[in-house]
C-alpha cells in the first residue's frame, strides 16, 4: 500500500488508499436444525486521487495490481468534477469496537451458542416454528493518505436474529440485535419472544381511524432514517430538505435527543475513523428538541462551507455496503437517546392503540419530506393498557416532523434497529398519540 501511495503521488496532488479485509461467519438455524454456515474472507482496495487539475478520481479492486488501479483512478479523475477537498491527516482516540472474543469464535462455538437457544425455546414452546441466525463479522481496515494519515483499526460485529412462524407458515414475531461485542439472548429475552409469539395467535383487524402508536425499537428506523435524510449534507446542499436553514430552531419536543455517534461503546457502526479517514465524533442531530447539526462527508462538508464538520463519509447506503461504494454522507450509529419510561408504563398509558414491533416499506414513499406510510408487519392491539392480540392488514402513516413533536413517552431501554439489511442505530420504544391507521375492517 505504501508503494502504491508513493507511485500514485508522482502523478497527482493528493491520494488516499483504503483497504478492508472482511471475514464473516453467519450460521442459519431453522427450528432445531442447522441449515447452513455461510463464511467469507475477502479483501478490497479503494484508491481516491485528486489529480493535478484538482479533479477527484475513484477506483476499486480486489487485488493490489497497482498500475491498473492507478490507471482507472486517473481515468475517473479525467472526467470527474473539480473538488476542493483535502484528505484528513488528524488522528483520533481509540474506540471500543473490537471484541477479541468475537474474533476467536469458531463455527463450532456459534453453532453451540445457537443450540443452547434452541434447547431453551424447545422447553418454552415445543410447537414453536422459527428461523434463527447468529453471526459474526470482522473488519480490518487500513487508511493511508497524502496528508500523512496512516491508521488502521479492527472492528467486530455480532448479531442475533430470530423470527417465529405462524400457523400458516408466514413470519409472526421477530427479535434482533447487533453490537460489536459478543452477547446472548438470555432466558428472559427468549421468554418475552415466546410470549409475543403466543399473543400473536389472536389476529385482529382494525378500522381506519386515529390510534395511539408505540414504535418499538425494531420499528423506529424509518423515523430515524427520515430525519437522517433531512440532515444529510447532500440533501441540505441540494436545498431539498425541510430542515434547510433551520439550525438552532426547536423542531421537536424537548424530550427528544437524537445523536449520530460513531464512538458509542460497542455500537455496531462504531470505529475510530469514518471510511475516508475523518476522526469519529459524536454529533447531536437534535438536542432537547433543537436542531443542532447536519451530517457531512468530506465532499458535502466542502460544498456546504463554514461550520461543516466531516466525519460521516461512509461506504454504505441503505441497500449496499462494500468496497466499490464511493464514500458519501451516511449515518454511523444513529441513536435516539432513552427516556425514563418503562415499556410496561407505556402500554398502560394506551387506551386504544397499537404496539408496532416490525414494519415493512420503511424505505418507500417521500422520505425527504418526512412522510411515511408503514405496513405494520408485526403489531399488537392494546385496549385499556392490555395487549389483546396481533393486528393484521393495517398501516400507520404520518410525518416524522409531526411525530417527534407530539411524542409523549420515551422508553428507557435501547435496542438496535435494523434498516432493510443492516443496523441503522439504537432506539427505545416511543409513544405517539393519534396517528392515522388505515385498517381493513369495514
Amino acid at each position: 500500500m505504501e508503494k502504491l501511495l508513493k507511485d500514485v503521488l508522482t502523478q497527482v496532488q493528493q491520494a488516499e488508499i483504503y483497504r478492508i479485509e472482511e471475514e464473516a461467519l453467519p450460521v442459519q438455524f431453522s427450528n432445531d436444525q442447522v441449515m447452513r454456515v455461510n463464511a467469507k474472507k475477502t479483501v478490497g482496495y479503494s484508491l481516491r486521487i485528486i489529480d493535478n487539475d484538482g479533479r477527484l478520481g475513484f477506483a476499486t479492486s480486489t487485488s493490489l495490481e497497482r498500475e491498473d488501479l492507478i490507471e482507472r483512478a486517473l481515468l475517473s479523475a479525467k472526467y470527474g468534477d473539480r473538488t476542493e477537498i483535502c484528505f484528513p491527516g488528524e488522528t483520533g482516540p481509540e474506540v471500543e469496537c473490537c471484541d477479541p472474543l468475537v474474533v476467536k469464535l469458531t463455527v463450532e462455538d456459534i453453532v453451540k451458542q445457537g443450540w443452547e437457544m434452541v434447547e431453551i425455546l424447545k422447553k418454552l414452546d415445543p410447537a414453536l416454528n422459527y428461523d434463527l441466525n447468529l453471526g459474526k463479522e470482522i473488519q480490518r481496515v487500513k487508511i493511508l493518505n497524502s496528508s500523512g494519515l496512516d491508521v488502521g483499526y479492527d472492528r467486530t460485529n455480532f448479531t442475533i436474529g430470530i423470527t417465529s412462524r405462524a400457523e400458516d407458515g408466514f413470519r409472526e414475531f421477530s427479535d434482533w440485535d447487533t453490537y460489536s461485542k459478543h452477547f446472548s439472548f438470555d432466558q428472559a429475552r427468549l421468554e418475552r419472544f415466546v410470549k409475543f409469539h403466543q399473543l400473536s395467535q389472536k389476529k385482529i383487524k382494525v378500522k381506519t381511524g386515529k390510534m395511539d402508536i408505540i414504535f418499538n425499537s425494531g420499528a423506529s428506523w424509518p423515523l430515524l432514517m427520515r430525519l437522517a435524510v433531512g440532515v444529510n449534507g447532500q440533501t441540505i446542499n441540494r436545498g431539498l430538505s425541510p430542515l434547510n436553514d433551520r439550525l438552532g430552531e426547536e423542531i421537536f419536543n424537548p424530550q427528544v435527543t437524537i445523536v449520530d455517534d460513531p464512538t458509542y461503546p460497542w455500537g455496531f457502526a462504531s470505529a475510530p475513523y469514518d471510511d475516508e479517514g475523518s476522526v469519529s465524533r459524536r454529533k447531536s442531530i437534535v438536542e432537547k428538541g433543537v436542531l443542532k447539526n447536519y451530517l457531512f462527508g468530506l465532499d458535502d462538508a466542502i460544498i456546504y462551507g463554514e461550520g461543516a464538520v466531516a466525519g460521516n463519509g461512509m461506504k454504505k447506503t441503505l441497500f449496499e455496503k462494500g468496497i466499490d461504494i464511493k464514500p458519501a454522507t451516511y449515518v454511523s450509529n444513529c441513536i435516539l437517546l432513552p427516556g425514563e419510561d418503562t415499556f410496561e408504563q407505556m402500554v398502560k398509558n394506551v387506551k386504544r392503540g397499537i404496539i408496532v414491533n416490525g414494519i415493512m416499506g420503511g424505505h418507500t414513499g417521500n422520505t425527504i419530506a418526512g412522510e411515511f406510510g408503514l405496513n405494520i408487519g408485526s403489531g399488537f392491539l392494546v385496549e385499556d393498557g392490555e395487549i389483546k392480540g396481533k393486528v393484521v392488514d393495517a398501516m400507520v402513516s404520518g410525518n416524522i416532523y409531526d411525530v417527534f413533536k407530539r411524542v409523549t413517552m420515551i422508553g428507557n431501554e435501547l435496542h438496535a434497529t435494523q434498516a432493510v439489511f443492516y443496523g441503522y442505530g439504537y432506539a427505545p420504544a416511543i409513544l405517539v398519540p393519534e396517528l392515522t391507521v388505515a385498517g381493513s375492517q369495514d
Binding site: S30, V34, T42, G239, D299, E371, G373, V396, V420
Partner: protein
C-alpha cells in the same frame, strides 16, 4: 479453467465453485454536480459444500485460495450436518459444458466512459433546464461479468453477463414538500436502447410538475388501476417472493398454504417467470448453480401451477428445476430469486377499466415495495383520482398495504397492453440484484387499502 476450478473437489457430498471477474461502470450526477464516475473491478469466488442436508459456503478473492475455500465449505457443511435430523437429496441437474458469449448490437463495453457521460448529462441537462425542476439525480450503470462455474458432477460453464441502463429522477417542490418522479432506460445488454430518449425525459418532467401541485388522498379502501410499472412491482412483491421455494420448502405449513392447485385468482390471471426472455433486466442463460433458466408458469388460469427453485428446494419438494438460484456476486451465497416475472396479457382495454370505476384511483409507477409473507406494501410514484368512469386530477403520497391472497383474488380485469420494466432491483438475503425484471399490462383490483391523511 475447468481443471483449475475442479482442483479442490473431492467426493464428499456435493461441491461447486463459481469464480467471477466483474467490472462495473458508474456515472452519477446530482443536479449539475458529477458525484461519481468510475470503473471498478472485482475478482472472486464462492465455494459450496453440501453434506447430508447441510450447506457450507466460503467466499474468497484469490484463485490460489480455491482449494482452501472448498475444504472450508465442506468442513462447515460436515459440522452443520451433525445438527440435522432431516436429510434430503439435491434435485438432479443435467451435466453440461457450455460457453456463453454476449454480442449486443451496440456493446457498452466498447464505448468510452466519456461518451457515456455525455449521453447521461444530455438527459440530465435537459431535465434541469426545464422550469420548476429543483434538482435531478441521474445515473448510468453497467455491470459486466465473466463467470465460471464448475461442480464435482462434471458441469462446467463459462458465461458472460452484461447489463446497462440509465435511471433519472427529477425533483420538484410543492405544498407537500419535495416530490420525485423517475424514469428508467435500458436494463438490457444493448447500449442502443439508451439512445434518443429526450421525449421520455420531457414526459417525466411534465408529470413531476403536475405532481408538485397534487393533493394527498384520504386513507381508506378504493378500487384501483395499476399501470404496468406499478403492476409489475405489485406482482413481484405480492406474489413473486412467495413463489420462491426457499421460503416454502422448510415449512410444512407454508407447503400446505402454497400447494399447487390452490386457487389464487380469477381465471383471467396468468403469471409467468422467464429468465429465457431476451433483453430484459432478469434475462440469463444459466443460474449460479449451472442450471438453465426456464419459463415457469406460476399461476395458470388463476390456479397455482409452479414455483421457482434451486437444486436444494426442488430436491426437498420433488418438483422440476427452474434455474432461479442466483447471487449478487461471489461474496454471497446464491438464493432463489425471480428472473423476469410478469402478468400475462389479458383482454381488457384501459378505457374499459377506467369506465368501470365510480370512485377510485389510478396508480402510476412504483416508488418501492416490500413483502413479508402474506402481506405486502407498495408506494406509487403518483396517481390520479377516478370519478364516474373518468380520470381526474393527480394525487400524491400513495402507499398501499394489502393481504396478498385477498388482493390477487380481487384482480378483476387484466389489460391487453403487457409492458416490461426497463429497470429491476430486488433485495433479498442481504443482496440487491439489479438483474431482476418485471412486467404487466394495466390491471384493475377491486378493493385496496391506501394510506393517506
Amino acid at each position: 479453467m475447468k481443471e483449475r476450478l475442479s482442483a479442490g473437489f473431492t467426493n464428499t457430498g456435493y461441491q461447486d465453485v463459481r469464480f467471477e471477474e466483474l467490472q462495473s461502470s458508474l456515472i452519477m450526477y446530482q443536479g449539475e454536480q458529477l458525484i461519481d464516475i468510475s470503473v471498478n473491478k472485482k475478482v472472486g469466488g464462492h465455494a459450496r459444500g453440501f453434506y447430508q442436508g447441510a450447506w457450507g459456503h466460503f467466499s474468497f478473492n484469490d484463485l490460489n485460495e480455491l482449494e482452501l475455500a472448498v475444504s472450508k465449505a465442506v468442513k462447515s457443511a460436515r459440522i452443520a450436518s451433525q445438527y440435522r435430523n432431516q436429510v434430503y437429496e439435491l434435485a438432479k441437474a443435467p451435466v453440461v459444458e457450455d460457453k456463453i458469449v454476449i454480442s449486443p448490437k451496440m456493446d457498452p463495453r466498447t464505448i468510452s466512459l466519456e461518451e457515456k457521460r455525455e449521453l447521461l448529462n444530455k438527459y440530465n441537462r435537459l431535465a434541469l433546464s426545464q422550469d420548476g425542476i429543483v434538482t435531478t439525480q441521474a445515473k448510468y450503470y453497467e455491470v459486466s461479468s465473466h463467470k465460471y462455474f464448475a461442480n464435482n458432477e462434471g458441469t462446467f460453464i463459462d458465461q458472460e453477463e452484461l447489463i446497462c441502463g440509465i435511471n433519472l429522477a427529477v425533483f420538484v417542490k410543492g405544498e407537500g414538500g419535495t416530490q420525485r418522479v423517475s424514469l428508467a432506460l435500458g436494463g438490457t445488454h444493448g447500449y442502443e436502447s439508451l439512445l434518443d430518449k429526450e421525449d421520455k425525459v420531457l414526459e417525466t418532467v411534465e408529470k413531476a410538475l403536475i405532481l408538485s401541485k397534487a393533493e394527498p388522498i384520504k386513507a381508506g379502501n378504493y378500487p384501483v388501476i395499476f399501470d404496468p410499472g406499478a403492476a409489475g412491482v405489485f406482482i413481484h412483491e405480492a406474489f413473486g417472493h412467495l413463489s420462491e421455494a426457499d421460503g416454502v420448502a422448510d415449512s410444512p405449513q407454508l407447503r400446505e398454504t402454497m400447494k399447487l392447485g390452490r386457487v389464487f385468482g380469477k381465471p383471467i390471471l396468468n403469471v409467468i417467470d422467464d429468465g429465457g426472455l431476451v433483453g430484459h433486466p432478469g434475462s440469463i442463460i444459466y443460474d449460479d448453480e449451472g442450471v438453465k433458466a426456464e419459463k415457469t408458469c406460476l399461476i395458470t388460469d388463476g390456479i397455482l401451477t409452479g414455483r421457482l427453485h434451486s437444486r436444494e428446494t426442488a430436491g426437498k419438494m420433488d418438483e422440476e428445476l427452474s434455474g432461479n438460484c442466483r447471487a449478487k456476486d461471489y461474496s454471497f451465497a446464491p438464493v432463489v430469486r425471480m428472473s423476469n416475472i410478469y402478468i400475462e396479457q389479458g383482454e381488457s382495454t384501459f378505457d374499459e377499466m377506467v369506465a368501470s370505476i365510480k370512485d377510485g384511483l389510478y396508480l402510476v409507477g412504483a416508488a418501492g415495495g416490500q413483502t413479508s409473507g402474506n402481506s405486502f406494501t407498495l408506494a406509487a410514484q403518483y396517481g390520479y383520482r377516478i370519478k364516474d368512469g373518468q380520470i381526474k386530477e393527480m394525487v400524491r403520497d400513495l402507499v398501499i398495504n394489502c393481504n396478498l391472497f385477498e388482493t390477487l383474488a380481487n384482480i378483476s380485469a387484466i389489460g391487453n397492453d403487457l409492458t416490461f420494466s426497463r429497470t429491476g432491483g430486488c433485495g433479498k438475503a442481504g443482496q440487491i440484484l439489479n438483474t431482476s425484471g418485471h412486467g404487466a399490462p394495466h390491471i384493475k383490483i377491486d378493493n385496496i387499502t391506501i394510506g393517506g391523511k
